[in-house]
Each structure stands twice: as structure tokens, then as C-alpha cells.
């Protein structure tokens, strides 16, 4: 049994606080029994360390191991530039498909056409007048509808041009970001190899 103020084995393994360590230092300087115990512990450790570590017979390599390769979607998901590029490509495709689609105005309900010919007590002049009036109304409606469609088409063209400009700007930003990231990665790799 050691007479040291603190556990001699804690002292031996450097697990004491500085203050306690100094106390044991002082004790050991004056105590032959504890000094002898420390020598025995040191000899034991030296004997054990005479059986050295070995090199593993083979390297544990993972790069070529399929288990460790991320799935294609994981690769994309975890890569900002790739994800951005895919998103931009999908957006472009959606815009192009949308632009190619023919514009179809909503089908208006067919106007109620009165059959005047069969109406009793109407003269030919009255009939012609009514027909001219109906034709004028129809032409007027069609002209208004044409103007409406034309205005909508112009607005869509404008929107598409704006989207393409925005897309181009995003591409430029992304290209710069990728350049910066590759530069950072190259410098990080250099640091690791150094």
C-alpha cells in the first residue's frame, strides 16, 4: 500500500492536477518505498511496450469500394453547383416547352343565334337590317377579342425575355461560384498533401 498523499498510479500516468502532482513530487523525493514502486511500474510499462504495434498487412482502402460510393442523387443533392445547374436546366426546358405550346384562348360559349327567317310578320328590309346589325356585333366582338389576345401574347413574350435574361445572369453567378469553389478545393487539397 502506497503512503503517497495521492494515488501513485494516477501520478505515474500523469492523471493528477498540477497541484496534486507537486505534492506527490515532494513526497516521492523523501520516500524510498514510493520511488521503488514507481520504478516497478516503469519497468512493467517498458516490458509491455517491448511488444510493438504492427503495420496492418493490407491497407484499408475505401475509394474503390462500392459500398462507400454515394448514389447519383446523393452526389447531386450534396453538391450546390450541380444542384443549381440541374435546377437551371430544368427551368430552361420548362420555359422552352412552354414557349413552343400554341396559345389557345379560352372557348367562349357560342352566341345565341335567333332564327329570324322563321319569325312571322318581318319584312325583307327589316331582316337585312337585323342581319347587318348582328354581323356588325359579331365583328366588333371578334376585334375586341383579337386585341385582348394580342396584348396577352405581348405580355408573355416580355415575361419570357425577362426570364431568359434572369437565367443568363444566374448562370454567370453560378459559373463564378464554381470557379471559386474549385479554387478553394485545390488549395485545401494542396494543404492536405503538404
Amino acid at each position: 500500500m502506497s503512503c503517497s498523499p495521492f494515488d501513485l498510479k494516477d501520478y505515474f500516468f500523469s492523471e493528477l492536477s498540477n497541484e496534486n502532482r507537486r505534492a506527490v513530487d515532494q513526497h516521492v523525493a523523501a520516500c524510498a518505498g514510493c520511488r521503488q514502486e514507481l520504478v516497478a511500474l516503469n519497468l512493467t510499462r517498458t516490458a509491455l511496450l517491448a511488444v510493438p504495434d504492427e503495420e496492418p498487412p493490407r491497407r484499408i482502402a475505401f475509394v474503390s469500394d462500392k459500398v462507400f460510393e454515394p448514389r447519383w442523387w446523393q452526389t447531386i443533392w450534396h453538391s450546390g453547383p450541380k444542384l443549381g445547374f440541374i435546377s437551371a436546366a430544368m427551368l430552361t426546358a420548362a420555359i422552352l416547352v412552354h414557349a413552343q405550346r400554341p396559345v389557345t384562348a379560352p372557348q367562349a360559349p357560342a352566341p345565341q343565334v335567333q332564327t329570324v327567317a322563321s319569325a312571322p310578320g318581318i319584312t325583307e328590309d327589316e331582316l337585312n337590317r337585323r342581319v347587318q346589325k348582328a354581323v356588325a356585333e359579331v365583328e366588333s366582338r371578334q376585334a375586341a377579342k383579337f386585341e385582348q389576345v394580342l396584348a396577352k401574347q405581348k405580355q408573355m413574350d416580355f415575361d419570357q425575355r425577362a426570364q431568359l435574361v434572369s437565367l443568363e445572369e444566374n448562370f454567370n453567378v453560378m459559373r463564378k461560384t464554381m470557379g471559386v469553389m474549385y479554387g478553394y478545393r485545390a488549395s485545401a487539397d494542396n494543404k492536405v498533401t503538404q
Partner: protein, 187 residues
């Protein structure tokens, strides 16, 4: 040392984002220590190598669950400890673990590839074979791997007092056998 720790946490962060290259670097840093830890527990090179592979695979798969990156080392050794004990239990399910490890032939690993005096080598084998599995692992973690008591407690999932008790009782047994032999070697 601080630089290395920072760099290591960076590698772990990258590995958590499925960066295989970063994880490969971590493996190359730790494979020797993990292999030797396992070798001293299971005493078979092929088993130790297979277990090392399993350890790094499981670590990679569970890296996301590691809450504190600074605890990577004890966490990795905890996985290795579990793998080793799982194998030892599988090999000898009908007996208790201490008995199964004591059944291992310590002479299989030639210490120091013939560099050691035979007397010391035999004495180490003999002394180690008298320890329980828990005591032996405590010696391996402290003497060969250089862990602090706190880290050992984390790896073994037990209180520091238990760790110290196992280690110190083992040292008392080893000291009685090895110190006189080593002393004669020095003389």
C-alpha cells in the same frame, strides 16, 4: 496539434457530407491504431483486419449520428470495442467472455518479430493471459493507445472509477511478473 485537430474536424465534416476522399484520409490516419487495438484484443491478424474494415464501414455509415465531432476518437474506438466483443462472443457463445479470451493463444503473435529477449516475451504472454478481458482491454487502451481515463470511460461506457480499478488491478498482477524480468534484462 491544434492545427491537426482543426483539420481533422474539417475532414469529419466533409466525410459527413459523403465526401469519400475526406473519409479515406481519416481511415489512413486511424487504421494502424484501430488495427493494433483489435489485434491485441482478438489476437488474430485476419480477424483484426476484417474487424477494422467493419469498424470503418460502420463509422462511415453512422458519422451523421456523432453529435460532438471532438469526440471522434473515443467514438471510433467504442465501435471497435463493440465489434471485437461481438466477434469474441460469436466465436465462443457457450462460455463467458473472459474464458473465451483466456483461451486465445497469446503465442500466436510473435512479439517484436524476434527482437525481444525470449524471456521477456514469454513473461508478457504469460502475464497477459492471466488478466481478465476487461483488465486486458484497460491495459491496451492505457499503455498501448495512451488514452486518458475520461476517454477510456467513454469507450468502455463505464465510470472512471471502474476503469481505474480494472487497470490498477491488472498492473499489480503484471508488475509482479514483468518488473523482475525487465529488471534482469536491464542488469
Amino acid at each position: 496539434m491544434i492545427f491537426r485537430e482543426v483539420e481533422e474536424s474539417d475532414l469529419i465534416a466533409r466525410a459527413r457530407r459523403q465526401d469519400v476522399e475526406a473519409y479515406n484520409l481519416l481511415v489512413s490516419r486511424w487504421e494502424r491504431r484501430i488495427y493494433n487495438y483489435l489485434l491485441r484484443l482478438v489476437k488474430d491478424r485476419e480477424d483484426a483486419l476484417d474487424l477494422s474494415q467493419d469498424v470503418f464501414l460502420k463509422a462511415y455509415q453512422n458519422l451523421g449520428k456523432l453529435e460532438d465531432v471532438s469526440r471522434f476518437t473515443p467514438w471510433l474506438f467504442r465501435i471497435a470495442h463493440n465489434e471485437a466483443y461481438s466477434l469474441l462472443r460469436k466465436n465462443r457463445p457457450e462460455t463467458d467472455l473472459d474464458a473465451s479470451i483466456e483461451g486465445v493463444d497469446w503465442g500466436e503473435v510473435s512479439p517484436g518479430r524476434g527482437m525481444l529477449p525470449v524471456e521477456v516475451s514469454l513473461a508478457i504472454e504469460s502475464a497477459m493471459s492471466r488478466l481478465s478481458a476487461d483488465q486486458r482491454e484497460a491495459v491496451v487502451l492505457k499503455i498501448y493507445q495512451g488514452f486518458k481515463f475520461e476517454e477510456m470511460a467513454e469507450i468502455l461506457e463505464c465510470p472512471v472509477s471502474t476503469v481505474k480499478s480494472r487497470l490498477y488491478s491488472a498492473l499489480d498482477l503484471l508488475k509482479d511478473t514483468l518488473a523482475p524480468v525487465q529488471m534482469r534484462g536491464v542488469e
